[in-house]
C-alpha cells in the first residue's frame, strides 16, 4: 500500500510540475531558439501589443453591448414601451455611439493585421490577437 501511495504521489507531483511549468518551459524554448532577439525591444513590442489587445477587448465588449442596446430599443418600440419619437432619438444616439466604437476599432485594425512583428514571442502567434 505504501508503495502504491508513493507512486500515486510521485505521479501527482509530476503532473503538477508539468501543468504549471509548461508556459515557462515554452518561453525558455523560444528564448533558446532566438538568442539574437533584443529582450528590451521584444518586451516593448509585447507591452504595446498587450495594451492594444486590452483596448480592443474593451472596445469589442462595448460594441457588443451597443448592438444589444440597439436591439433592446427596437424591441421596446415594438412592444409599445417607447414612442416613435423617443425611439428615433435614442436609436440615432445609439447608432452614433456604435459608429464611434467601430471607428475606434477600425483604427486599431491596420496595426493588428501586420503579418509580422505582432507575435509576442518569435515563431509563435500572439494569443491575444488570436482571440
Amino acid at each position: 500500500m505504501e508503495i502504491l501511495i508513493a507512486i500515486i504521489a510521485g505521479v501527482l507531483l509530476a503532473v503538477v510540475f508539468v501543468v504549471i511549468s509548461a508556459p515557462l518551459r515554452a518561453a525558455r524554448d523560444v528564448e533558446d531558439g532566438d538568442v539574437g532577439a533584443s529582450t528590451e525591444s521584444e518586451q516593448a513590442l509585447q507591452a504595446a501589443a498587450t495594451g492594444r489587445g486590452y483596448e480592443r477587448a474593451e472596445l469589442e465588449a462595448a460594441r457588443e453591448t451597443k448592438y444589444r442596446e440597439i436591439r433592446d430599443a427596437e424591441l421596446d418600440l415594438r412592444t409599445g414601451k417607447l414612442s416613435r419619437e423617443d425611439y428615433d432619438a435614442i436609436d440615432s444616439g445609439l447608432r452614433a455611439e456604435a459608429l464611434e466604437l467601430l471607428d475606434r476599432l477600425e483604427a486599431l485594425e491596420p496595426l493588428e493585421q501586420k503579418p509580422s512583428g505582432e507575435s509576442l514571442t518569435p515563431g509563435k502567434a500572439n494569443p491575444e490577437l488570436e482571440a
Partner: protein
C-alpha cells in the same frame, strides 16, 4: 490512504503559494508566461484537490474508521447514499469540499478568459489562489480531514439522522458552489481595480459567473427550506436562522448586482456601486461560511464549538479593508459616464430595486449579527426572533415584488407617461381584479397577504403582457406561427425573457409564502388510537399505530433501528382526503453504557413527517410517540440485563409488538397550509428562468445576430 490525503494538502498549499507569486509577478512585469503559469496553478490545484477529495470519499465508502472524520460522521449502518454524501457533513470534509469546488469553478472561469484580460485575470488568479491557500491552511493547521486514529474503531458514530434526507445531501454542494462562485466576481472585481481596468470587459467576463453564483445559491437556499419543511418536524420552511440568513444575504446583493450591472453595461453608470456590490457579495459569502464554521452564533445548521473563528475574522477584515482601499483609491476611474435620463426609466426602477435589496440585506445582517452587537455593547447576548424580521422584511418584500412587475414594462433611458399608462393598464387591472376577488372571499383582515397577492397579480399581468406583445411583434416581423415566434423571441433575447420568467417565479414564490404564513392552521394534540381532532376544515383521526425494527423497512430508509408511527385518516366534510403515516425514527447512540437494548434506541430521535401535498394546500403531520411507558421501559431493562450484545434487536421486536398491542396516546403536530407547493413551484420557475438567461447563445446565432445588428447600424448610419 490517509497518507496520500496528507501529502495532497501541503502540495496544494505549495501550488497556491507558487501560483500567487507567479500571477502577481506576471501581472506586474507583463511576463505572460508567468501569468499563464499562475493560471495553470489553479488547474493543478483542482487536480490535487480532486485526488484529496477522492481519497476522503473512498474512506467513507469503505467504512475506513481509521479516519477520524469517517468515524465521527458515518457508520456501517448508514445507508450507502448517505455515506457517500457524509463527506461534507463534517467540519473537515466541508472545508475540503469548499476548497475543491473553489478550485473547479476558478479553473473554469480562468480557462474561459485565458486569452482575454490577462492583467485582470492574473490578479484574479492570485486572489482566488489566496482563498484556496486560506482554506487549505485551515485544513492543515486546524481541521484536517485526513487525521487518523490507530487502532481504528470497529464502528463509527453514524451520520446525524437529521441529515439523512436526499435534499440535505445535495443542499451543501449547491450552497458551496454558490459561495465559491461568489468569490469569482469578487476576485475579478479586485483584479480590475488593481489593474485599473474597470470598463465593460471585466463585467462581461464575470456576468455569467455572477449569475451562476446567484442560481446555485438560490437552489441551495430552496433545498435548505425544503429540508426544513420536510425533515425538521416543526412544519416551517424558513426560521430566520443565522445560517439561513447568511446564505440569503449574498443572494440579495448578488441579485442587486445582476440588475445594476446592466446599467453599467448600457450606460457606463454605477461603477462604484457595482464594484462595491461585487465585493460585498463575495465578502458576505465568506462571512456565511464563517458563520457556519465558527460556532459564534447558535444555529441548527452550524458546526458549533469550532476554533476557526479567528482566521475567518482575519480574512474578512482583510477583505473589507482591501475592498474599501481599492474602491476609494480608484474612485476617479469609477466615475459614471452618463446620468439618469429620466426617473421614468428602467434604470430608475433598477436603482429602486437595488436600494430595496440592499435594505433587505442590511435588515437581515443587523438581525443576524444582533446577538454579537448587543453582547459587544451591553455585555449580554440578546437576539431577535422571526417577528422582528417579519416587521421589516415583509414591507420590503412587497415593494420588491411590485418593482419586479414595474421594471419589465418600462423602457430603458426614458418612457413617456402616455406609454406608461398604456403599459400599466393590464397589470393594474390584474391587481385590481385580484383585490376584488379576495375581498369578496372575506380575507380582508390579512392586509399583507392581500397586498402580496395583488402585487403578484400585477407581476403576472406585466410579464404576460410582455410575452404577448413580444411574440406579436415577432410574428408581425417574421410571419412565424405563435409557438415558433415565442421560442424565437426568447432565444434571441434570453437575458430579457429569462429575467422576466425569474420575476414571475419570485412572485409565485411569495404568493406561497404569504398564503402559507397568513392562512395556516396548526394544532398540537395528544391523541389515543381512534381519537380525532379538527385542523381548519379537515378532520384527522388516529387509525392505528405502526412499528418496524428492520432499518431497511423504515419509511424513508434512513437507517433507524426502531421506527414508531401512526396511520392517520384525513377527511374533509366527511369525505376521505388522504391517509398519512408520520413516524419517528430511533437511532443507535453507539454508547454501550446505555445497555444492550438501550443504546439501540438511545440516539437522536428524528421525526419523519407525512403530508398530503396539493396545489391548494398541504396537510402536514408529525408524531412524537411515547415509548417511556412502564411496560415498554420494562422490556428495555430486561433486554439490557439478559440479552448478549448482538441480540438486542430481539428486545426491540418485543417492544414493537407490545407497542402495537397496547399503544399509548401519542403527541401529534398537524398543520394545514394553503399554497405551500407554490413556493417550490415558484423556485422551479426561477430556476428555469435563470437557466434561460444564463444559457449561452449558440455561436452561430450570436454571429448572425451581431451581423444583422451591424447591417442595421450601417443602414441607419448611411441614412443619417
Amino acid at each position: 490512504m490517509a497518507d496520500l490525503g496528507r501529502i495532497c494538502l501541503p502540495l496544494a498549499l505549495l501550488v497556491c503559494v507558487y501560483g500567487i507569486g507567479a500571477s502577481i509577478y506576471g501581472a506586474r512585469t507583463g511576463r505572460i508566461e508567468f501569468s499563464d503559469s499562475g493560471r495553470r496553478s489553479v488547474y493543478a490545484l483542482a487536480i490535487v484537490l480532486t485526488v484529496a477529495f477522492g481519497v476522503l470519499e473512498l474512506a467513507f465508502l469503505r467504512n475506513d474508521f481509521a479516519f477520524n472524520t469517517v468515524a465521527d460522521t458515518s457508520s456501517r449502518t448508514t445507508p450507502t447514499f448517505y455515506r457517500a454524501a457524509a463527506v461534507w457533513s463534517s467540519q473537515e470534509g466541508s472545508l475540503l469540499l469548499w476548497a475543491w469546488l473553489l478550485s473547479l469553478w476558478s479553473s473554469l472561469a480562468l480557462f474561459l478568459v485565458r486569452r482575454r484580460m490577462r492583467d485582470v485575470a492574473a490578479y484574479a488568479t492570485a486572489i482566488l489562489l489566496g482563498f484556496g491557500a486560506f482554506f487549505i491552511s485551515l485544513m492543515i493547521f486546524y481541521a484536517s480531514p485526513f487525521s487518523t486514529t490507530s487502532p481504528a474503531p470497529a464502528e463509527g458514530v453514524g451520520l446525524d439522522p437529521l441529515l439523512r434526507f436526499p435534499t440535505m445531501m445535495i443542499h451543501p454542494p449547491m450552497l458551496y458552489s454558490g459561495y465559491t462562485l461568489c468569490t469569482i466576481p469578487l476576485a475579478f472585481g479586485m483584479g480590475a481595480l488593481l489593474a485599473r481596468r474597470v470598463d465593460a470587459d471585466w463585467i462581461k467576463a464575470i456576468r455569467r459567473f455572477a449569475f451562476a453564483a446567484w442560481l446555485f445559491l438560490g437552489i441551495g437556499i430552496l433545498l435548505g427550506a425544503r429540508w426544513s419543511y420536510s425533515e425538521l418536524g416543526w412544519g416551517g420552511y424558513w426560521g430566520w436562522d443565522a445560517v439561513e440568513n447568511a446564505s440569503l444575504m449574498p443572494w440579495l446583493t448578488g441579485t442587486a448586482f445582476l440588475h445594476s450591472l446592466m446599467i453599467q453595461e448600457k450606460r457606463g453608470m454605477l461603477k462604484v456601486w457595482n464594484v462595491s456590490l461585487v465585493l460585498a457579495t463575495g465578502t458576505l459569502a465568506i462571512m456565511g461560511t464563517f458563520l457556519v464554521r465558527s460556532g459564534i452564533l447558535n444555529s441548527i445548521h452550524a458546526f458549533g464549538g469550532a476554533t476557526l473563528g479567528v482566521p475567518f475574522v482575519a480574512l474578512i477584515g482583510v477583505l473589507i479593508a482591501g475592498s474599501i482601499y481599492l474602491v476609494v483609491s480608484r474612485r476617479d476611474m469609477l466615475r459614471s459616464q452618463h446620468r439618469l435620463d429620466s426617473l421614468l426609466s428602467r434604470e430608475a426602477i433598477f436603482l429602486g430595486n437595488n436600494i430595496v435589496l440592499v435594505a433587505l440585506c442590511f435588515v437581515i445582517f443587523w438581525g443576524t449579527y444582533f446577538p454579537l452587537i448587543s453582547e459587544a455593547f451591553t455585555g449580554t447576548e440578546a437576539s431577535v426572533g422571526p417577528p422582528w424580521f417579519d416587521r421589516y422584511t415583509v414591507p420590503l418584500a412587497l415593494l420588491l415584488v411590485l418593482l419586479s412587475g414595474i421594471g419589465p414594462v418600462i423602457a430603458w433611458r426614458r418612457a413617456t407617461l402616455a406609454n406608461a399608462r398604456r403599459n400599466f393598464a393590464v397589470p393594474l387591472l390584474s391587481a385590481l381584479a385580484t383585490l376584488i376577488v379576495l375581498l369578496a372571499a372575506g380575507v380582508a383582515h390579512k392586509a399583507f397577504a392581500i397586498a402580496m397577492f395583488c402585487c403578484a397579480a400585477f407581476v403576472l399581468g406585466s410579464i404576460s403582457q410582455e410575452f404577448f406583445r413580444g411574440t406579436r411583434a415577432r410574428r408581425a416581423m417574421a410571419g412565424e406561427a405563435l409557438p415558433v415566434a415565442l421560442v424565437a423571441l426568447v432565444r434571441r433575447n434570453r437575458r430579457r425573457y429569462g429575467g422576466y420568467v425569474v420575476h414571475l417565479g419570485i412572485a409565485v414564490l411569495f404568493v406561497g409564502v404569504a398564503a402559507s404564513s397568513s392562512f395556516q392552521h396548526a394544532v398540537e394534540q395528544r391523541l389515543p388510537v381512534g381519537g380525532s381532532t379538527h385542523v381548519g376544515k379537515y378532520t384527522v383521526r388516529y387509525v392505528r399505530p405502526t412499528a418496524t425494527i428492520t432499518p431497511k423497512n423504515d419509511a424513508v430508509h434512513t437507517g433507524s433501528t426502531l421506527n414508531i408511527g401512526a396511520v392517520l385518516d384525513v377527511s374533509k366534510g366527511g369525505r376521505h382526503v388522504a391517509t398519512l403515516s408520520p413516524s419517528e425514527g430511533f437511532y443507535d447512540s453507539g454508547e454501550p453504557a446505555q445497555g444492550t437494548v438501550g443504546h439501540l434506541i438511545g440516539g437522536q430521535a428524528v421525526s419523519h413527517i407525512s403530508m398530503s401535498a396539493g396545489v391548494t394546500r398541504d396537510v402536514w403531520t408529525a408524531i412524537a410517540p411515547d415509548i417511556s411507558t412502564p411496560a415498554l421501559q420494562r422490556i428495555v431493562s430486561i433486554g439490557n440485563r439478559t440479552l448478549p450484545a448482538d441480540e438486542g434487536v430481539v428486545a426491540l421486536g418485543v417492544l414493537a409488538r407490545e407497542y402495537l398491542k397496547h399503544p399509548p396516546a401519542a403527541q401529534f403536530h398537524f398543520i394545514v397550509s394553503p399554497l405551500v407547493m407554490w413556493i417550490w413551484i415558484g423556485g422551479l420557475i426561477v430556476l428555469g428562468g435563470g437557466l434561460i438567461a444564463i444559457w449561452p447563445a449558440p455561436s452561430a446565432v450570436r454571429r448572425r445576430v451581431a451581423m444583422r445588428s451591424r447591417a442595421r447600424t450601417a443602414r441607419g448610419l448611411a441614412r443619417a
